[in-house]
């Protein structure tokens, strides 16, 4: 198999803090070092991009990456925020230049870091198809040839001669993705654009991306936090951590490494700002979990007297798919929730029928009509099912609910 993208010793350095103050003097120093043939004085101290630690003003967003991507591969790039995923895509799509290293590419690259880049609100859908298409590197004749297909795929035929400023955001995204999906490049780079649009359209997009890879044998690089989508679409995976290449290989292997890397957090508290009702503390009872029970404690504070508090939570599996959830708008509650400024609410499940795996919980606080506070996937846990498995089930295929079944 031939190599489509070859990356050698690739690094990208960013300067933290204010850019602009004192830049002339720094520039002069840098220039002087360059003339004397010395190293850039501001690049000496290399640090990996750990955002939580304080340190030098220079960070490596990517550090000495070596990588070969074969033609026809769909590579899912995963990693936590700040791992360097987006930087890598930006470098490959030539939006910014690397600090050191080399990327060699075979074929045309089309990057979709955003949908609808260059859309002009005053122009009609049709005019924007041409404009956006040519920004993405298509020739006019090519767009003309595919125009009907694009309009058909987008499903906004009726509005195609209306200025896009009158479009709903959904229509806008549909049209924009339709243009991008019809690009004829050998390499397609996609960054989380599927996060927008309704689920039906998302499915359509994923399907289209699968087609692009399988039918046309094109190379796809895909960054997403949606592990479900990524594992369906990609055959090969790349995991980045603090700007370094941790693992590159089969998607399933990389995904497992990633999931093993993730840390679990059972308790978390928040500062109270006295501006609005707020969740101040969330905790998961570890002991109860080992007994296959769930006990979630939520504390809240409020600057105003709360009439009726409505708490809620949603449990997600490791692929970010919601498994179940509850709130006191649709489940009965039995706690004191009127006329108070702070309180503690406990949610308990006597038997948690989940498969062995990793889970995340989002917590939400509101009242009958208003949302106060929301903490997305704030606590997480590793769950061990009560049942022994002959073979560990794959949640991707059979879901996450461990419903006990008696087989005769």
């Amino acid at each position: 198999m031939s190599v489509a993208i070859k990356i050698e010793n690739l690094s990208k350095v960013y300067q933290l803090g204010q850019i602009g103050t004192g830049t002339i003097s720094n520039d002069l120093k840098r220039w002087k070092a360059k003339i004397q043939g010395k190293e850039d004085p501001f690049l000496k101290i290399g640090e990996s991009n750990d955002r939580t630690k304080k340190g030098n003003d220079i960070v490596y967003s990517l550090k000495s990456i070596d990588l070969e991507i074969n033609q026809g591969d769909a590579v899912g790039i995963i990693g936590r925020n700040g791992a360097g995923k987006s930087t890598l895509l930006k470098l490959i799509s030539r939006i910014t230049a690397p600090t050191a290293g080399k990327i060699s590419i075979k074929g045309r690259v089309a990057s979709l870091l955003e949908v609808g880049t260059g859309f002009h609100p005053e122009l009609s859908g049709r005019e924007n198809i041409f404009l956006n298409g040519s920004i993405l590197g298509m020739r006019k004749a090519e767009i003309k040839q595919k125009l009907d297909e694009i309009i058909d795929f987008s499903g906004v035929e009726r509005y195609v001669d209306t200025p896009v400023k009158r479009y709903s955001s959904g229509m806008y995204v549909r049209l924009a993705f339709a243009v991008a999906a019809h690009l004829d490049s050998e390499i397609l780079i996609v960054d989380e654009v599927l996060a927008v649009g309704d689920s039906e359209f998302q499915k359509k997009c994923l399907g289209k991306m699968g087609d692009i890879r399988q039918k046309d044998g094109r190379t796809v690089l895909f960054v997403s936090h949606n592990m479900d989508a990524i594992s369906k679409l990609c055959n090969s995976g790349l995991m980045l951590h603090n700007g370094e290449n941790v693992k590159h290989g089969l998607m399933q292997d990389v995904l497992n490494t990633y999931l093993m890397h993730s840390t679990f957090q059972q308790e978390v508290s928040f500062d109270f700002f006295n501006l609005k009702p707020q969740i101040t503390f969330i905790s998961l009872d570890k002991e109860k979990l080992s007994e296959n029970k769930l006990k979630l404690t939520i504390q809240y504070k409020s600057p105003i007297e709360l009439k009726k508090v409505v708490p809620g939570f949603i449990v997600y599996n490791q692929l970010n798919v919601p498994i179940f959830g509850s709130n006191t708008r649709f489940h009965n509650s039995n706690f004191e929730n009127a006329g108070n400024f702070e309180g503690e609410i406990i949610a308990e499940i006597d038997y948690l029928n989940l498969h062995t795996g990793n889970y995340y919980i989002s917590v939400w606080l509101g009242d009958q009509s208003v949302d106060y506070d929301e903490k997305i996937e704030i606590v997480s846990f590793e769950y061990k099912s009560k049942f022994d498995y002959i073979q560990l089930p794959n949640p991707l295929e059979i879901g996450s609910v461990d419903q006990y079944v008696r087989w005769h």
Partner: protein, 287 residues
């Protein structure tokens, strides 16, 4: 190893941290000519979308400015117009100056204005300033028709003495010089503003001041001798005077001053292009 070597020769392009100063990739710009055309179209069409008067707005601006100049500089201040009809004198200067200043102003903020596009997709960045120069050229063309119309009116009904001369053929040269000068200086300034925002402020009022250093509201012949050489340092002075000379038959241009403008223009263009090319690779990190 063998396979590797083979591969090395087949790469379509290689991205590296450093590039040669002169790797301009003009071929790539040519590949994006459709985009250039569509951007020009976008600029023009979106300018008058949802207006009643539409493209007429291209006429209204120079007409009103000319009128104001006639009242203030021509009548109140009584500045000489070299014996030319005031309308024609001012309008020629205004339309030519507008083209140059629009090219310069628009290209000088190009990175800032297009950061959202440049940050998301790659295309040869040079396409953007080129599209501005061309869309302004279209605008200039439309306004030039207005000028010709006014000119004919004065020639036919106001017995303005019109001397046809071969200088008329210099007009395309002057337009070309203005376009290249605006583009070159604009690229230079835009490249510097990505890092030093101060320049953007400087340029927006600097260009207003520069207008007074250019013979637009006065003829060069009316300027005192000791200032003349300073005014002539400004390449736009010769271009505006040349424009008037070619079209209306009165203006001070010498072969030497035109040669100076040509050299100035070419040098600033090359310089601008080199710096622009260098900055475009990394500007997303600083803008």
């Amino acid at each position: 190893m063998n396979k590797n070597q083979q591969n090395n020769e087949n790469w379509d392009f290689v991205i590296q941290s450093k590039s040669s100063l002169f790797s301009l990739n003009l071929k790539e710009v040519w590949n994006y000519r459709d985009l250039l055309f569509l951007l020009v179209k976008r600029d023009i069409v979106s300018f008058y979308k949802q207006t009643i008067l539409g493209p007429l707005w291209f006429f209204i601006q120079p007409l009103i400015t000319t009128f104001i100049y006639m009242v203030i500089f021509g009548n109140l201040a009584g500045i000489s117009t070299n014996g030319l009809p005031q309308t024609l004198f001012y309008m020629t200067g205004i339309i030519a100056w507008n083209y140059f200043s629009e090219c310069l102003l628009k290209t000088s903020t190009i990175f800032k204005d297009n950061a959202h596009i440049f940050g998301k997709v790659y295309f040869p960045r040079l396409v953007m300033p080129l599209s501005l120069v061309f869309s302004n050229l279209v605008r200039f063309g439309i306004q030039f028709i207005l000028l010709i119309g006014t000119f004919l009116y004065f020639a036919l009904f106001r017995d303005f003495q019109f001397h046809f001369s071969f200088a008329l053929f210099l007009i395309p040269l002057f337009i070309l010089l203005m376009a290249i000068l605006g583009l070159g200086l604009g690229m230079l300034i835009s490249s510097l503003t990505t890092k030093y925002r101060d320049l953007a402020f400087l340029i927006s009022f600097g260009i207003q001041l520069l207008m007074y250093g250019t013979p637009i509201i006065y003829p060069l012949s009316a300027a005192p001798e000791k200032y003349k050489s300073i005014i002539l340092l400004n390449p736009m002075s010769t271009i505006i005077e040349g424009f008037r000379f070619a079209l209306l038959g009165k203006g001070e241009v010498t072969f030497m001053s035109i040669a100076y403008v040509c050299i100035f223009t070419i040098i600033s263009f090359i310089f601008g292009l080199i710096i622009f090319n260098k900055v475009e690779r990394n500007f997303m990190d600083t803008v």
